[in-house]
C-alpha cells in the first residue's frame, strides 16, 4: 500500500473541495472494498477523504419513492421495515451479500461502486486490459467460469459489478443522486450509471472524478412489493453469485400487468432485461411464459468454454425467481 493522507470531511462541500484539489484521491466510507484494492496495489490514492461524518444517512418515504442515504450500511437498509415490506428483493439482495461483519461496515454508495472480482483484475501480476489497457485478457482462454456472458467485449469479459444490490436496484428503476460540488446535483437512473466495456474499459460508471453518490431513490410500485432476489452460488453464504435474478411482478387475475427483471453474475454490468419484461407483460403467469422470458433475457449471451453453463443457469434462476413471486 502506498503512503496516503487521510482527512475527515465535515460537510459535503469540504469533501468535494478536497477531491477537487486532489483528483487522484478517493472517498472512503466503510472501506471494505477500497482497502482491499489499495492493499493489492490495484488502487493507489495519495489522499483519502473520509465521508462518514457527512449527513448522508436516513431512510425516508418521499414522493419519488424511498430515499436512502448513501452512507446507510448494508445491514441497516437490508433490515429496515420499509425496505423489507416495499422492496423485498432489495432487502434480500443486501442480506444475501458478503458477511455480517462486512454488511455492518459497508455503505450503500460503496457497494454500488465495488469492482470486479475477476481473478486476473485482482492480481496485478496478471495482464488485464481493464487495469493496464492493451495488456491483454488471459481470462478469455483461462479461468472465466464466473465471468460474464452478457454485454461482454472482445477485450474484457469481467462482471464489472459482481455484487447483488445494484442488480435489484437496476430492476426497480432506482435513481442515484450524485453531487459534484455544493448545489451541483444530478439524478442518474441506475440503468444508465454503469458503462459497458467498450473502448473505455477503465471507466466503469458515469461518475465523474470527485463526484459523490449522496442518495438512492427507489420508486414505489406494486411489482417492487411483490419481488424477490434469487442468488445461486458455490456455497451457501459469503460468495458472489454465479447467477442471480431480481424480479418483480404485478399479477392481476393471473395476468402479468407489469414485470421487472434484472440478472446478476452474468452481465458485464447489472443486467436489466427489458426483453424479458416485454415477453412477460400482458401474458399469463405460467411456466411457459417464464421460460420464454428467460430465453429472451439470454438471447444475446456470448458464453465461452467454461461459462457456457451460465446460459442455462441464468435462465433457470430467472424462471425459479418468477415462479416464487408468482406464487
Amino acid at each position: 500500500m502506498n503512503d496516503f493522507s487521510y482527512t475527515q470531511a465535515a460537510t459535503a462541500k469540504e469533501a468535494t473541495d478536497l477531491r477537487k484539489a486532489t483528483p487522484a484521491g478517493a472517498y472512503i466510507a466503510g472501506g471494505t472494498t477500497l482497502l482491499d484494492l489499495m492493499k493489492a496495489h490495484l488502487a493507489e490514492h495519495p489522499q483519502l477523504v473520509d465521508i462518514n461524518q457527512l449527513p448522508l444517512k436516513g431512510i425516508e418515504q418521499t414522493k419519488d419513492g424511498l430515499r436512502i442515504g448513501a452512507l446507510e450500511t448494508m445491514s441497516d437498509v437490508g433490515e429496515h421495515p420499509l425496505v423489507v415490506q416495499q422492496y423485498p428483493a432489495v432487502s434480500q439482495a443486501l442480506l444475501l451479500a458478503a458477511s455480517p461483519q462486512l454488511r455492518n461496515m459497508a455503505s450503500l454508495g460503496g457497494n454500488i461502486l465495488q469492482r470486479t472480482r475477476c481473478g486476473y483484475f485482482r492480481d496485478a501480476a496478471f495482464p488485464c486490459n481493464k487495469r493496464v489497457p492493451g495488456s491483454g485478457c488471459p481470462a478469455l482462454d483461462g479461468d472465466h467460469h464466473n465471468l460474464a456472458i452478457l454485454g461482454v467485449s472482445d477485450s474484457c469479459i469481467a462482471n464489472s459489478y459482481p455484487g447483488d444490490l445494484s442488480v435489484a436496484l437496476t430492476a426497480f428503476d432506482a435513481v442515484l443522486t450524485l453531487e459534484k460540488a455544493k448545489g451541483k446535483q444530478r439524478q442518474v437512473p441506475l440503468t444508465e450509471f454503469y458503462l459497458l466495456p467498450g473502448n473505455t474499459l477503465q471507466r466503469e460508471t458515469v461518475l465523474e472524478p470527485g463526484e459523490l453518490i449522496v442518495a438512492i431513490t427507489i420508486p414505489a410500485a406494486t411489482h417492487a412489493q411483490r419481488s424477490t432476489y434469487l442468488k445461486v452460488r458455490e456455497r451457501s453464504s459469503y460468495a458472489y453469485a454465479l447467477a442471480s435474478a431480481a424480479v418483480g411482478l404485478d399479477v392481476q387475475g393471473g395476468t402479468i400487468r407489469a414485470a421487472r427483471v434484472a440478472l446478476g453474475g452474468v452481465g458485464a454490468q447489472p443486467w436489466r432485461s427489458r426483453e424479458a419484461e416485454r415477453v412477460l407483460t400482458g401474458q399469463p403467469a405460467t411456466e411457459a411464459t417464464f421460460r420464454a422470458a428467460a430465453a429472451a433475457a439470454l438471447q444475446g449471451a456470448r458464453p465461452r468454454e467454461h461459462n457456457r453453463y451460465k446460459v442455462e443457469l441464468a435462465q433457470n434462476t430467472l424462471v425459479r425467481a418468477l415462479q416464487q413471486v408468482a406464487g
Binding site: M1, N2, D3, H41, R117, G119, Y120, R122, D123, A125, F126, P138, D141, G142, D143, H145, V232, E234, R235, S236, S237, Y238, A239, L242, H306, Y309, E312, L313, N316, T317, V319, R320
Partner: protein, 780 residues
C-alpha cells in the same frame, strides 16, 4: 523401565480418560493469551521480513533494481539471489538432502536466477516495521525473461512418465494378476475420477520468527507440526549442531500437513536475522500461503474393477496421473487404500507424473487415502447399483477379515459395527433402493455412504513426568498441538496415570528443549504421546514403590515391589488394598520434593518389537510382518444431500460419521476432529478448487474470498459416534489416530448421495453447479 510395556488401565475411578473434558487451553485461546509463533513481538529489536515473489511461472531473473526500495525509511537489508547467504546444506543438492529430517521439495529459491513457479520467492526485504518492509518490497523492480510455462499434466506441452517410485511406493506395483482378473471378470466397471488442486489454508498462515541469541545459538518460533524435525533440518541447512537450534511452537492454528515441513520461508527468516543482527519475523501473506507451503495436486485416476455377478471383487487395476514439480517425483499414494480396503485378490497400480511449473505438492490431510477413497468408494457404489445390491451389502460382501495385501490379521477392526451403528443413526433403512426417486419440492434427495480407513504409521518419542509431593505434576513432551486437543488429551492421560485430578497437571509441549518426540502428522501424535506419558508415569510409580518397600517407616516395608500397585495416588498392596500410603508420604520421608520418570512411547507395529524399531530400513510391510498385525482405523460416513437439478446446487442436509479408532481419549475433542475432517471433505466434494491459469500457470483465486471453503450455512448438524475398541497391539494406550481418517471417504459419500438423488454419477471434484447442470443434461 525394566518391565514389559504395560497396557493402560485407568487408575482413577471414574477416570478422566474417555471423558469429554473441555480444552485445557481453551481459556488461553479465547482470551488471546495463547501465544502463536508470529506473536513473539517483545523480542529485543524485532524487525520484519517480507517476501517478493515471482509474477511469472517460468523464466530467468535478468535484474532486480532495489534502488527505490533501498531508499525507503526503515529498510535494513534486501536479499536477492545475488546476495543471499549460502546454505551449508541445500535442498538443491540431493546429497545434502539426506541430512534433512523434513524437506518437502528438492528446491531452494533465491539460489540462482531461475524461476520455476509463480509465487517463487525472488527477494526478501527486512525493515523496522511490517509496513516499511511491505512497501519497499513492492518498490523492487524485478525484470524476468519469461518463458512459456507448463501449467499441469493437462497442458498439451506436458509429457507424462512413470516414475521409479513416489513417496516410497514403486511407480508400478502388482499383487497377483489384476489385468487378467479384470479381463476375465463377469462384471467390469471402468471409471475415471478427477480431483482439483486443493490448498490446506490453515487459519494461521506460515510464520517464522528467528532470534540468534548468540552466534551459535538460534531460537526459532515457527508454525510447524514437528519442532524436532524442523530443528534438525534447520541445523543442517545453517551449518549448526542440532542442539544449537531451538524450535518453539506453543500453539498452532491448524496444519493439515502443510506445516509438517521446512519450507523456504522457515530458512529465510534465520538467514535474514543473522545478516541484520536482529530477531526477524516473516509471515506469509494469504496469497503467498498458496505458493509457499505446498498443496494437494490436481489428479485423475482410472479404476478398472472386476467382480463376480454376485458382487465379489476379483481384481482392480488403478492408474493415477498427476502434476509434479520440475524436481520431484511426488504424488499422493492413492493406491494404498484401494489395495487394502476390501478382500481383493489382485491389484495393480501405476503412477504417471507430468512435470509442470509448480512447486512440489505435499501431504494434505490423509494424503493419498483421501483421493484414493473417492475412486474406490464411488466404484463400489457403482457395483452395488449395477447388481441391485445395497451399498452397505456390497461392502460387507467384500469385507476384508484380514489384510489382503499381506494376509495379516488386523490388530483390531470394528468396521462392521461402524456400518451398523451409522446405518441406525442415519436411518439408512428408509433409503429408497432406486436412485432419482426421492423429491422434496423441487429438490432431489439422496442418501450416500462410504467407508473410511487410515493406517497406523509407526512412530516413537519420549516424555518426562515429574510428580511433586503435593500432588501436582509437570508433564513434558516436544509434541505439537495443531489445535486439535493434544494439550487436553495428554493432561487427561497424565491425570489418570498419576492418580491426580487434571487441574493438577501442567502439560508442556512444542519446544525442542523438551523430550524429543516425532511430529504431529500421519495421525500419530495422540497414540504416541499418550503412550510415552503413560509409560513415564509408570516409571514414577516404580521408583516410588521401590522406595516404599525398603523404607522401614512405610506400611509397605518388606513387600515385594511387584505386589504393590498405585490406586488413585495411593501405593497399596494388590492383595490387601488397606495396607498402603499416599505417595506424598513416601517422598516426604525421603526429603524428595518430586520424583521424575521418563519413557519412550512407541506407536504402531514397532510398539512390541524393539528389534524392528531399531531397523530404520524396514518398510511398513516389513514392520507389519515383524509385528504380525496390520493396523488401521476404520469408519463410515453417511450423508443426505439435496440437489437442485435446475440450479445445480448440492447441499449436505444430514451427516453421520461413526469411527472405530481404538481408545477414544476424549469424545469431545475427538468429535471435533471428525467434524473437522468431514467438513474438510465436504469442501473438497462441493467447492474447494485452486485454479491455475492454463497458459500462465499462476493461480487465479489465491485468497479466501474466491477459494471457497465451507461456511456454517453449508454444514448441517453432524452426528458423530465411536465404536469402542480394545487394541493392545497399537501402543500402550490402545489409541489410533483420528485426524486423517475423518476426511477419508467423505467426498465419495457425498458423490454417492448425489448419484442416489439424481441418477447421475459425478466423478470430477468439486461438484460445482456447472458440473451438476452438465450431468443433469445427460440421461440418468
Amino acid at each position: 523401565m525394566d518391565t514389559e510395556p504395560q497396557f493402560f488401565e485407568t487408575n482413577a475411578a471414574p477416570g478422566v480418560v474417555g471423558q469429554p473434558l473441555s480444552r485445557v487451553d481453551g481459556w488461553a485461546k479465547v482470551t488471546g493469551r495463547a501465544k502463536y509463533s508470529a506473536e513473539y513481538n517483545q523480542l529485543p529489536g524485532l524487525v520484519h521480513a517480507v517476501l517478493r515473489t515471482s509474477d511469472v511461472a517460468k523464466g530467468r531473473v535478468t535484474s532486480i533494481d532495489a534502488s527505490a526500495a533501498q531508499r525507503q525509511p526503515g529498510v535494513l537489508a534486501i536479499f536477492t539471489h545475488e546476495n543471499l547467504p549460502k546454505l551449508a546444506k541445500t535442498p538443491n543438492n540431493p546429497e545434502d538432502q539426506k541430512a534433512f529430517a523434513s524437506s518437502p521439495m528438492s528446491f531452494f529459491p533465491m539460489a540462482s536466477d531461475q524461476v520455476h513457479y509463480a509465487g517463487q520467492p525472488l527477494a526478501m526485504v527486512v525493515a523496522d516495521t511490517l509496513e516499511h518492509a511491505q512497501y519497499a518490497a513492492a518498490l523492487l523492480k524485478v525484470n524476468i525473461a519469461a518463458e512459456v510455462p507448463t501449467a499441469s499434466y493437462l497442458d498439451p506441452k506436458a509429457t507424462s512418465y512413470v516414475p521409479k517410485s513416489v513417496k516410497g511406493t514403486e511407480g508400478v506395483t502388482k499383487r497377483g494378476d489384476a489385468q487378467a482378473a479384470f479381463r476375465n471378470a463377469p462384471v467390469q466397471l471402468t471409471a475415471t475420477y478427477h480431483h482439483a488442486t486443493n490448498h490446506h489454508n490453515p487459519m494461521e498462515p506460515g510464520a517464522t520468527t528467528a532470534h540468534w541469541e548468540a552466534p551459535d545459538r538460534l531460537t526459532v518460533y515457527d508454525t510447524t507440526q514437528g519442532v524436532s524435525e524442523t530443528q534438525k533440518t534447520l541445523a543442517a541447512m545453517l551449518g549448526l549442531a542440532t542442539e544449537q537450534v531451538r524450535v518453539v511452537t506453543k500453539y498452532l492454528g491448524g496444519g493439515f500437513g502443510c506445516k509438517a515441513w521446512v519450507w523456504p520461508h522457515v530458512v529465510l527468516a534465520p538467514l535474514a536475522a543473522k545478516a541484520v543482527g536482529r530477531p526477524v519475523k516473516l509471515v506469509l501473506t494469504r496469497p503467498q500461503q498458496f505458493t509457499g507451503m505446498g498443496h494437494r495436486e490436481e489428479q485423475e485416476q482410472t479404476l478398472r474393477l472386476g467382480a463376480t455377478k454376485e458382487g465379489k471383487l476379483l481384481g482392480i487395476v488403478h492408474e493415477k496421473t498427476s502434476t509434479t514439480s520440475p524436481w520431484d517425483d511426488y504424488a499422493e499414494t492413492n493406491s494404498r487404500i484401494i489395495n487394502m480396503l476390501y478382500a481383493l485378490p489382485a491389484f495393480e497400480s501405476t503412477y504417471h507424473l507430468a512435470k509442470a511449473s509448480v512447486m512440489t505438492s505435499t501431504s494434505t490431510r490423509a494424503p493419498g487415502d483421501m483421493p484414493g477413497s473417492f475412486a474406490i468408494e464411488c466404484s463400489m457404489d457403482d457395483l452395488a447399483y449395477q447388481l441391485g445390491l445395497d451399498p452397505i451389502q456390497v461392502r460387507l460382501l467384500n469385507y476384508a477379515e484380514k489384510d489382503p495385501t499381506n494376509g495379516h490379521p488386523w490388530s483390531s477392526k470394528s468396521l462392521k459395527q461402524c456400518y451398523a451403528r451409522g446405518a441406525e443413526l442415519f436411518g439408512w433403512s428408509q433409503r429408497n433402493p432406486r436412485n432419482g426417486q426421492t423429491r422434496n419440492g423441487k429438490l432431489l434427495v439422496g442418501y450416500g455412504m462410504a467407508t473410511a480407513s487410515y493406517p497406523v504409521h509407526n512412530s516413537q518419542g519420549n516424555a518426562r513426568v515429574r510428580l511433586y509431593a503435593d500432588g501436582r505434576a509437570v508433564v513434558q513432551a516436544g509434541a505439537t498441538d495443531l489445535g486439535t486437543g493434544t494439550y487436553t488429551i495428554i493432561t487427561q492421560v497424565a491425570a489418570d496415570a498419576l492418580g491426580v485430578p487434571p487441574q493438577n497437571i501442567r502439560f508442556e509441549l512444542g519446544d525442542t528443549i523438551l523430550p524429543t518426540t516425532q511430529w504431529s502428522g500421519g495421525s500419530t501424535a495422540a497414540g504416541r504421546v499418550s503412550s510415552s506419558v503413560y509409560l513415564a508415569a509408570q516409571e514414577v510409580w516404580q521408583k516410588l514403590i521401590k522406595m516404599a518397600v525398603i523404607d522401614r517407616k512405610s506400611p509397605l516395608y518388606g513387600a515385594k515391589a511387584a505386589d504393590v500397585v498405585m490406586e488413585k495416588g495411593r501405593l497399596q498392596l494388590k492383595a490387601d488394598p488397606g495396607k498402603g500410603e499416599a505417595f506424598g508420604e513416601v517422598m516426604k520421608r525421603a526429603s524428595l520434593s518430586d520424583v521424575e520418570g521418563t519413557a519412550q512411547g512407541r506407536y504402531g507395529s514397532i510398539y512390541k518389537e524393539p528389534g524392528a524399531a531399531a531397523d530404520a530400513n524396514m518398510n511398513k510391510e516389513e514392520k507389519d510382518a515383524a509385528a504380525g498385525y496390520s493396523m488401521h482405523a476404520f469408519g463410515a460416513h453417511f450423508c443426505e444431500v439435496h440437489v437442485d437439478p435446475e440450479l445445480g446446487t448440492v447441499r449436505v442436509a444430514r451427516w453421520v460419521s461413526v469411527m472405530s479408532a481404538g481408545r477414544i481419549l476424549n469424545p469431545k475433542t475427538a468429535r471435533s476432529q471428525v467434524i473437522g475432517g468431514s467438513i474438510f471433505g465436504i469442501g473438497a466434494a462441493l467447492m474447494e478448487q485452486t485454479v491455475r491459469d492454463p497458459n500462465l500457470a499462476r493461480y487465479t483465486n489465491a485468497d479466501l474470498a474466491s477459494y471457497h471453503v465451507p461456511v456454517n450455512a453449508d454444514i448441517p448438524d453432524m452426528r458423530v459416534d465411536f465404536i469402542d475398541e480394545h487394541d493392545p497391539h497399537v501402543n500402550a494406550m490402545g489409541v489410533k489416530g483420528i485426524g486423517e481418517i475423518s476426511i477419508v471417504g467423505v467426498t465419495a459419500a457425498v458423490a454417492n448421495a448425489v448419484f442416489h438423488a439424481t441418477g447421475r454419477r459425478l466423478r470430477s471434484l468439486p461438484m460445482t453447479p456447472d458440473k451438476v447442470l452438465a450431468a443433469m443434461r445427460q440421461p440418468a
